[in-house]
Symmetry: C2
Subunit: 340 residues, 2 copies
DNA sequence: TGTAACTTAGCAACCGGTTGCTAAAGGGTT
DNA sequence: AACCCTTTAGCAACCGGTTGCTAAGTTACA
């Protein structure tokens, strides 16, 4: 770390004591402290001249609070292509809100392979967790009494969380298809053989089954079990009479789009397509994708709000908050009336 | 900040002095210090039992170094859709490398609207800058003698940097088109009326002009000046006889793809398409995009390497390093032989 | 037995701020 | 002039570690 201007240096310059300088710069003019305008101005001037920037480590040590929020980010393992989820969207809404309230935000990097904690080695006042994390890591947060809020991922027993209503989103999407006359609706699951990485993998699939059952429809196979390559999957569901597909996310949807040529399926004429996650490039592909938008702005804002309240001690004693935010449907070109 | 176990508490538990505990936990057994195995083990055991985690702020203060690297990230302004560049790809390669060398990495958020510095308010040992930043911010880094390395963006007079060879990349792309028989090659500029946000906007365009000129070809208008909507742009270049397009980035390319229907152009039959940035979803759109891949892994690794060497004082006195890394061409479906 | 040399561990200052408490200076009143 | 109150500002301890130096205890050797 490069050497910086310190309080004492400023104090010496001004012929004052560093405690005075500290109080002036922090505007600590309570009943027990005051300065003459003359000295005050001099201190402020000198500090600006010397480009004084307080050492946050020292401040943290003395104040016992950092006003720093960590947002752990998953380090992508291996050389897999970076596929964007909603992390960035939510984070970008989180940051300004925290800043308005005097908190800084930093992303830390959590590598499931190596890291044994979500907590950064430097102190923070709180965390916003956006990835499903091993429960012992969440437990650790609670043991350490570290304020945190989970966004779109499972929380611990005492943790507040922001969830999205995937069931409602699925209903919007499926209702839309139903209204367009579709009766044979398939579900395209997430691209992995691994056990569910995220609760949405279960929620979206379950909601699919529930909705169909509620409306007297039968699921189109395959909707679970082993993962088929896109082309094979399309052939299977077409054979099974599907006229529409609900995809786990935009990436799956885009892969289906791509496989359509080989599988001799035309979107949307032969098959309508809806997906979760209205993120790039949903609006830019051809046909543009009808998709369920997660309320990323709201998620970010509420998460920040809850965490700030926690930090201000306004949420003690209450039972954990769980906000469930609605999703919305953005209709585009990939869904059309059923012609079958 | 929640209260944590401190050195002194451990020391008291062990009936030892905190300095001894500190040295044991940090394995400081130089010539001037040693402990009996018995005490050593006890300290280690108690520390583990009490789940001791050193306070990094205190350590930083005492050691005068943080072993923390900041990677500023642009806060997207307004509600614009998050469009991924290569930031994430590079960062994900940066992190493991730094960690292997004992450094932690955090992303900080830089908001051009409000922030007057790239430096986070807490101390860091160095920065990896990946966004074109106002030059006075870079100057500030140099004045503060803060080690930094710029990746794919302009650096200050004394700053090391990692650049990519956009000219080479353009030559690969254009050479590929040339080999396929294309002679009327258009260039699709970045989607903004603003002055160049990034040097690549100039470099790629210039390289385009240079290559054509070198090979006795004429640019297809419009390749600069006001930005046209994708559809209008396509109509214009088709009218001008274009058989291929080089796009500034994958987002532009995808937008062109989308506009093709309205503009009555077929990719790749009527128009071949190459773009810079081989990122999601280049391989997943239809037709998949022939694209120039930036060496994100290499960029991350070299950036980390240079910064670590700087931090170790191995790079003093030398003139600034500038690594220029080659780009590679990934040929996919969007480019075919010219049939005109 | 005295002493040099080595091992083991503690003292205390320091990193750069913050803050409770106290002291000095200034002003007003009796 | 003595006294009290208020304003102004400094002293010093503290936050939780790190580290140079020193002290106590052991062993080795003359």
């Amino acid at each position: 770390m490069t050497e910086r201007v310190t309080l004492s240096q400023i104090a010496k310059q001004c012929g004052a004591n560093k405690s005075t300088v500290s109080r002036v710069l922090n505007n600590r003019c309570d009943a027990s402290f005051s300065v003459q305008p003359q000295l005050r101005d001099k201190i402020l001037r000198v500090a600006r001249q010397m480009r004084y920037r307080p050492n946050l480590h020292a401040q943290t040590l003395a104040r016992r609070q950092t006003r720093l929020i960590a947002v752990p980010r998953l380090v992508p393992s291996g050389d897999s292509e970076h596929v964007p989820g909603i992390y960035d969207a939510v984070t970008s809404h989180l940051v300004p809100y925290f800043r308005e309230h005097g908190f800084e935000v930093c992303s830390t990097y959590y590598d499931p392979q190596h890291d044994k904690t979500l907590l950064p080695p430097w102190g923070v006042d709180g965390l916003v967790v956006m990835h499903r994390s091993p429960s012992h890591l969440i437990d650790e947060l609670e043991e350490a009494a570290m304020p945190y809020v989970c966004v779109n991922c499972p929380t611990g027993p005492a943790g507040h969380s922001i969830q999205v209503d995937d069931t409602g989103g699925a209903e919007l999407a499926l209702g839309h298809l139903l209204a367009l006359g579709h009766r044979r609706i398939a579900y395209r699951r997430f691209r992995t053989h691994l056990p569910p990485l995220h609760s949405s993998m279960i929620a979206r699939h379950d909601s699919y089954l529930q909705f169909l059952s509620d409306h007297g429809l039968k699921p189109v196979k395959p909707h679970d079990g082993p993962w088929d390559e896109p082309e094979l999957y399309l052939r299977k569901i077409i054979k099974a009479g599907a006229t529409a597909v609900l995809a786990y996310d935009h990436v799956e949807a885009i892969r289906l789009l791509k496989a359509s040529q080989k599988a001799a399926v035309r979107f949307p004429q032969d098959l309508s397509l809806v997906c979760f996650n209205d993120e790039f490039p949903c609006s830019m592909v051809m046909p543009s994708l009808t998709s369920v938008a997660l309320p990323t702005a709201e998620m970010g804002k509420h998460a920040a709000q809850i965490l700030i309240e926690q930090l201000n001690g306004q949420l003690t004693g209450e039972s954990p908050l769980e906000y469930v935010l609605p999703e919305t449907l953005v209709v585009r070109q990939s869904t059309v009336s059923c012609t079958m």
